[in-house]
Amino acid sequence: MASARPSPIIPTATAGKTSSHVAQKEANKAAIFQRLHPRIYLERFLEEKIRPDGRSIAQNDEGDNAWRNVEVNVGSITTASGSALVRIGNTTVVCGVKAEICEPDLDNPSEGFLVPNVDLPALCSPKFKPGPPTEEAQVLSEKLNEVLGNGMLPLSSLCIHSGKSAWVLYVDATVINYDGNVFDATLLAMVCALKNVMLPHASYDPDVNRTICTRPGVDPTKPSRKLVIQEDLVPYGFSFGVFACSHILPDPSASEEPLLDTSISIILDSHAQVLAVSQLGAGVDTEYEASGPDLDDTPARKADTLAECISLARNRLAILLNKVYDTMN
Amino acid sequence: MASTSISKAEKSYIRAGILANPPRRADGRSLHDFRVISLETGVVSLSNGSAHLSIGRNPHDGSGGTDILASVKLEVEDIEGAAIDNGRIACSVSCSPSAYPHLSSGALDDLQYDLTQVLHQALSHPSLHPKNLGIIPRKKSWLLNLDLLVTADAGNVYDALFLAARAALWDTKVPRTRSVEYKSPKSLLSTSVDMDVDQDTSSGFDTRRVAHATDFELPDYWDEGEVLEGREHWPVAVTLNLVESKHFLDATLQEEASCGSRLLIVHSYESSSSPTVQSMRILGSEELSIPHLKSLIKEAETYTSDMFNSLNAKLEDEDIRRNQKARQRFAGRK
């Protein structure tokens, strides 16, 4: 990728302005350059081992500031059975769980339903228009449905009366601010929301063919209960992007995402075992590493991209776990 | 209602005319005059009550003017577990594309939705609910479908819709019902009219079903029956079109397009003197100060009471006219 310097596009800053005004002029010129040539803009940054939002990609440090700050707060929506708000950097996702009662399927009469859906409304990013779910929202919902269906929440625990009535959990996530890496944020939000759910006590009354629930706290003999969640199967998602076959970018932001050639998603359980891995596109091009004239890499970089991402994900998981735990209990 | 596009010159000409002293309007009316309103009830033969209303129709060739067709259709609704016990009202306004040729289908749906929203919220409020829409408590009740069709719009569509709705509801006849119950052969006790007394009879029926199925009979022919109870409370609406400090009534399409905003007030007359406000909306972007809004609300009372009285008079002589027609038809039949 030739990176010759294009001719200066913007008229040079006129001298004599106050420093803050010159700084604003410079920032404005940089913004114009990013809008016209996003790819070259990102290349320039990566040459200095810095990403546009200030995170470093240098290999030597413990790599923690390569990830954006994660904030979780739980149970803020009272009309939902369970809810969670997750913020990864600026990406903000609110997830609410609504529990309803339905008749189980004929072919598995003693199982309830788990229905996860992601909504990317026009509010969260200029690239979305109001209307039915976009392709990206559908792909996200599909991936989340697969990941959450790995037995973390045994559907048999949602059964009220075999063959007659069972719980259906509508897990709806709404993205409020779309700044990249929505999959990780939504997965974390859904997991925290499910952990926050309080199901009222429900009993099926055969002669009226209806299920009656009791509100929490009304009747001590019929307490409401939390969901049965297999702690060791709880998935945590870590996403990476590979730019120009040369740089691995953990937790890509909205400005970086369209420029990535490869997107890698690693899903670990709470014991750092790999639950799922997906890599779309080529990994880091190792021959390029060796012959690259201006990239002073040590041979260690030759390791396979996927293995590197998994190790990065593992040390990030440790930090993430104590953050999520101290908010949960 | 949906403003046609008019040029800036025409717009300022109309506004100047209204602000002038004495005001002058294109068709010579004064600020608070209405165009000719023609009303006819009982126009749809298969409905339980109907009315056809037009405002500002050209008397010679019958062209132009806002034209509304309103019809009421009663349906029996099974209200087994639902929270309603004596009947429900559902209004819906539909606009024929020929009335709004310049609107795309999406915009037409939105307009229909907005008109329906205003009508339904005002007319289906419990304070106006007629008592005689129940048939069998907690089992069966009447669903009153009020459907209004805007076939032509020459301005002032809200007033026309409320007038037509009121006329159609005035004209509605609810067929009388008599509850009938089937006694299961085995039950020996004489069941009282009150259905929900539950005896554990050893009848063949599945014990879980209620012992007596009840239904109802219609003694009347389908288009006779009593009128809706409290039919004089149905509201009337007035739209005040605002031009700076002045306001005028019954605007034509061009006048609607040239005035910045409109205040819609819906009044219902419980006792003949003081009205109650059933709904109020502001539409449009002109400036309106709070004291000015309050004065408009007071003045609206006079307009709605005139309209209320003249409409009642018209409905009375409609009834008389139709009874004479019925008598002649009866006399003609040997």
Partner: protein
């Protein structure tokens, strides 16, 4: 703490007698000058203004940057991404059109669009008018307007050699464009 930051609707205290000329961000309502934007009112030249560095839609005489999306013999379609040196957020753009008679000032009727623009070129233009419902009318009929960035067939960034030719550094091939005069050149 609150410096003279004003909010929309807030009356602005006028320093001296004569009511100054009102620029963008302020408006006058029944003899009272009020702010219509959040910001600090200051004087630019003779007019009182509140300036906000916000993306604005193109207006007549605003300088825009855009990339060519479609070419036809009579006009070139342009997707405008920068208006008056303020970039639009990613994903937002306005459509502009450069009619063949607006490409250059000389020999307007003998313009061949293929020799002036190619798809993907970044062009600096001036808005003539709001145009029609779909696009704004743009002109490049000035020395400092025209193609400012183009990639050659070989994929290299080309340098302008004359007002209507650009050269690819890799292959040395000359391609015809209506170039903008680079800044800094006298």
């Amino acid at each position: 703490m609150a410096s003279d930051l004003v909010l929309p609707g807030q009356p602005i205290p006028l320093p001296r007698g004569p009511v100054p000329q009102l620029g963008r961000g302020v408006y006058e309502k029944d003899e009272q000058v009020r702010a219509s934007l959040v910001g600090v009112p200051h004087f630019e030249g003779s007019s009182l203004v509140i300036s906000r560095l916000r993306p604005q839609p193109p207006a007549p005489n605003s300088v825009v940057l855009g990339s060519i999306t479609r070419l036809s013999p009579l006009q070139a379609l342009l997707s405008i991404t920068v208006v008056d040196d303020i970039p639009l957020p990613p994903g937002e753009e306005f459509t502009g059109v450069i009619r063949s008679q607006d490409v250059r000032a000389t020999e307007k009727d003998k313009v061949k669009i293929g020799d002036c623009f190619r798809g993907g070129d970044v062009v600096r233009g001036l808005v003539i008018s709001l145009g029609d419902a779909r696009s704004y009318f743009i002109t490049t009929a000035r020395n400092d307007l025209g193609v400012i960035f183009a990639t050659s067939e070989a994929g290299a960034t080309m340098e302008p050699v004359s007002w209507q030719e650009m050269r690819c550094p890799k292959t040395g091939k000359i391609e015809k464009r209506k170039c903008a005069k680079p800044e800094g050149l006298s």
